[in-house]
Amino acid sequence: MKPAAFSYHAPKSVEEILSLLSEHGDEAKILGGGQSLIPLMALRLATPSVVIDINGVDDLDYVRTDDNTLQIGALARHRDIEELKGLAEWCPMLLEAIQMVGHVAIRNRGTVVGSMAHADPAAEWPAMALGLEGVIDVVGPSGKRTIAADDFFVSLLTTAIEPGEVATEVRLHLPKGRVGSCFLELARRHGDFAVTGVGTQMSLSSDRECVEDARVVAIGVGQTAVRIREAEDVLVGESPIDELYREAARVVHDTIAPSDDIHATADYRRSIAEVLTRRSLAIAAERARGETANG
C-alpha cells in the first residue's frame, strides 16, 4: 500500500506542464486531486516514474459562471461547484450528481476536470458533461483544442486527450427558464461507485404542455457514460405525462448495453436504468413546471 518511487515535478504554469509532458512522454502522469491516481499508485496498479503535480498552477484554479455557463478550471474541486450559491435551483441534476461523488473529504480534494480525464464509466461528471453540452479544453504542443463531450469519452478510462496534452477546463451549459432536471443513482452504499445512475433534463413549452427539449444520460451501463438520444427523441414534442416517461424509460432499457460484473448483472442494470429514468423524468418535469422546490 505504498506507492512506488517516482520523480516529482511541481510546475507553476501550463507551459511548464507541457514541457514536462514532452520531456517524459508516457512515463509521466498528471496529479490533480489525486483521489483516483493515488489509490491506483498505492495499489501499484499505476507506477508512473514521473508525477507532474499541477496543484501549483494557480491559473487553473477557478470556477466562473455567467448567465448559463459554468467554467471549471482544472484545479476546481468537486466541493467548489457543490457550494455554488443557487445551484440547487439552477441545475438540481448537477448538484445531485456531485453529492454522489465519494464523500466530503474526497470532494474537498478531487477535481472535476480530473474526473473527466479519468473517465470512469461509473463516475458522475462525464455524464454531466454529456447532458449539459459540455466541452473540454485540452492544451498541447500545437495549441489548444476544444473537444465536445460527445467526442471526448472514447472508451473505458480512455479519452480524446492525446499524449503530450493536458485538460485545462470544462464548460457546461446550464439553461434557465422552464427547465427541470434530476439525477438519481443506485449504489451499494452512499459514496460508492454507482451500479447505475441516470440524469434527465427537460424544458417545457410556455404552456407547460409540451416537452421542447430533453436530455437523458446514464452511468455504469457501458464503457463510458452515455447519452441516450433514442429516449430523448421519444420525449421531445410530447406531453409531459407518466405514460411518456414510461415509454422513454423502456427505450433506455432497450438501448443501453451494460455488461455483467461482480456488482450486478447486465439485466439488473437495464432494469435499474429503466426505473431511475422514469422516476427522474417525473421529478425533472415537476421541477420544470415549478411545482416543487428544487434540490
Binding site: 500500500m1 505504498k2 506507492p3 512506488a4 518511487a5 517516482f6 520523480s7 516529482y8 511541481a10 496529479l31 489525486g34 483521489q35 493515488i38 489509490p39 499508485m41 498505492a42 495499489l43 508525477v51 503535480d53 496543484n55 466541493r79 465519494g102 464523500h103 466530503v104 473529504a105 474526497i106 474537498n108 480534494r109 452504499r189 452512499h190 459514496g191
Partner: protein, 164 residues
Amino acid sequence: MAETYIVKTEVNGKRYQGRAEARTTLADFLRDQLNLTGTHLGCEHGVCGACTILMEGRSIRSCLMFAVQADGKSLETIEGLAESDGTLHPIQEAFSKHHALQCGFCTPGFLMTIIEYLAEGGEADEETIRQRLSGNLCRCTGYQGIVKAVGEVAARSGSAPTSG
C-alpha cells in the same frame, strides 16, 4: 538514496519541518517524521477514512496526498482537539458519554470529519449525520453511539469552534 524534499507545515498551530520522499503520503509523514501518531492508517487507499485530517479547514484523506504537497499548508489533526490542560473537546466528551468507540482505531478520522461538519453548522438530524459519516468506517460500534454523539453536540451548539 531516493531524493527527499523539505516539507514545512503548520499542524495544530505549531510549525513543523521534516523530510520526505516524493512518494511518502502525508499520513506517513505525520506519523513517521512528525511523530504525530494520532492519525491512523487503515486501508491506505482512500476507502476507510481513518486518516482523515483537516487541511486549511477542509477534511481530506491524508493517505491520498503526498507529504510534499502539504508544504506550506496548515493542518489540523486529532492531537489538536483537546485543550493543552487535557480538557476534552465537546465531541470527544460526547463520544465518551455515548460509547462511540470501542477499539478506537477509526476514532481520529471520525472526529476530524465531525469537526468539519460542526464547524459548518451541521444539522442534528440522523439521516444527514449518517450521510456525512458515510466515508468513515467503524468495525466495532455499529455507528449508533457515534451518530448519537454527533447529534447531541450538533443540537447543543448549532456549530462548534474548530480546534485551536
